[in-house]
Amino acid sequence: MSEVWLDPIAIDVGEVLQRTRTSLYSHLVTRPTGRAVRMAIKTQLQGNSNRSFRRRVAISLIDLSEVVILDFSCADEVVAKLLEDSIQGESREEFFVFRGVHERHRGQVQTVLERRGLAAVAETEPNKYSLLGQRSAAEGRAWMALEDAGLVTMGQIGTVFEERDQAAVSSLIDRRLAFRSPSSGGIHALSGLVAQFF
């Protein structure tokens, strides 16, 4: 059994787009469409949260693979504002990974995250993850080291991360770009958790 006790939630944005009031639309464009999809995603996350009373930590995989066109307004609503709302929310600790952020979406997602001072872990190619948005050089190095390792135990922290990047590791955890197990103190790459739970 895993030492990590997380509530995994997978959401296919293309499917949400079809289910919302915007069901006639096939592309994720215009701000009202993005807002409607974000609200639908939040409703789905909330529903899941209500069913699992004990788990206060969740990891959500938001899948954009089936979305062909994603404009800046929708990227802002569905990626940046979803993250921002989650960080500001107090009900539980939520971690997000965005899947299917291919070349055609990458610029939009990068731009809207930077604009709000956010960062996110995204699968930009199959099984290849990137840290998008605003981050320091130290955060970038620390995230890459964690990504290569997958899991860094308490005893490995001093060797896997450079000494100058120790504060950046804490920052990654605070920004929910990495997960520290409350039981073991080990630090998990979100991509590793995706492989484990989805």
Partner: protein, 295 residues
């Protein structure tokens, strides 16, 4: 009856002259005389509709439109779906062709933008047609159709979110053999709304004091990304359009009120800022994307 002569060439370079004339019109009903029209691009078509709509607002009477004598030009206007919108704006005089059923080589027919559903419709239609034009005529990458659709989406949303009034969009590819020696795609978006100065006035005019004008409002939005919304995620549309147009070595100009601002590439000799034009409502955006030059 005011007679407004439509020039023989009505495109993104000559449309300002027509709009200036309309800005100066009196109350007497007007006739737009397009009989000598020989060449028209999306800016000309959308601009003519905008000019007609503003004239109707000013004069309280639907203006008349004398259609071009050239059957070729009339046929082209029909293929571009111009008359569908024109019949809502003008009392049309003369023989007009039948509008396109959507099966022609047109990139994007003249389309009215009044709500978000219209933006979705534009993106859906362009998706089906833009790929071939962008790759074969402009030499852009296969994925460029996504960026092109994003540009169209953002520029059309500008009408809905900032103008708070209807507008039109159109796009087509041309061979600018003599002017540039290569193919271009021309996109035109115009609205009848309140323009950049009024849209931004409540939030930003006090900072500019006496300097607040159409030109400074355009600079604020176009160069600095200012928007009337306090949300930090807003105001990205025009900035990102500019960035993508620059990547493709294209040109973008926006006229609003008495000023026009532009991002001008080396191949274009237009001035980056023009002020002191006649006050015209709304905003008028033109984008020219040239074929890629192999280095």
């Amino acid at each position: 009856m005011n007679v407004i002569p439509v020039p023989g060439t009505l495109d993104h370079r000559t449309i300002d002259g027509l709009l200036d004339q309309v800005a100066l019109l009196g109350e007497e009903r007007s006739l737009f005389d397009a009989r000598r029209l020989r060449w028209i691009d999306p800016s000309g078509m959308v601009g003519l509709l905008t000019a007609g709509a503003v004239t109707a607002q000013k004069q309280g009477a639907i203006p008349r439109l004398e259609v071009p004598e050239s059957t070729e030009v009339r046929g082209y206007l029909s293929r571009m779906g111009f008359f569908n919108s024109a019949q809502e704006v003008f009392e049309i005089e003369g023989q007009r062709g039948r509008d396109s059923n959507g099966d022609s080589d047109v990139l994007l027919e003249v389309t009215s933008i009044a709500g978000n559903a219209d933006v979705h419709d534009v993106v859906d239609r362009v998706q089906q047609r833009a790929g071939v034009i962008l790759t074969s005529k402009l030499g852009y990458s296969v994925t460029s159709v996504v960026q092109f659709s994003v540009i169209l989406s953002e520029v059309c949303q500008n009408i809905i979110e900032h103008a708070e009034a209807p507008g039109w969009v159109a796009a087509q590819a041309y061979n600018w053999k003599h002017r540039l020696g290569r193919f271009v795609v021309v996109i035109s978006v115009m609205d009848l709304g309140r323009g950049f100065r009024r849209s931004l006035s409540d939030e930003h005019s006090s900072r500019y004091g006496d300097r607040w004008s159409d030109a400074t409002a355009l600079e604020a939005a176009f160069l600095h990304g200012l928007t009337r919304f306090s949300d930090s995620g807003r105001g990205q549309g025009i900035q990102q359009i500019r960035r993508q147009v620059r990547r493709w070595d294209g040109a973008i100009t926006i006229r609003s009120g008495t000023a026009r601002i532009g991002q001008v590439p080396a191949w274009d000799d237009s001035p980056p800022l023009v002020d002191g034009m006649e006050p015209f409502p709304g905003s008028q955006i033109a984008i020219v994307l040239p074929a890629k030059v192999e280095k």
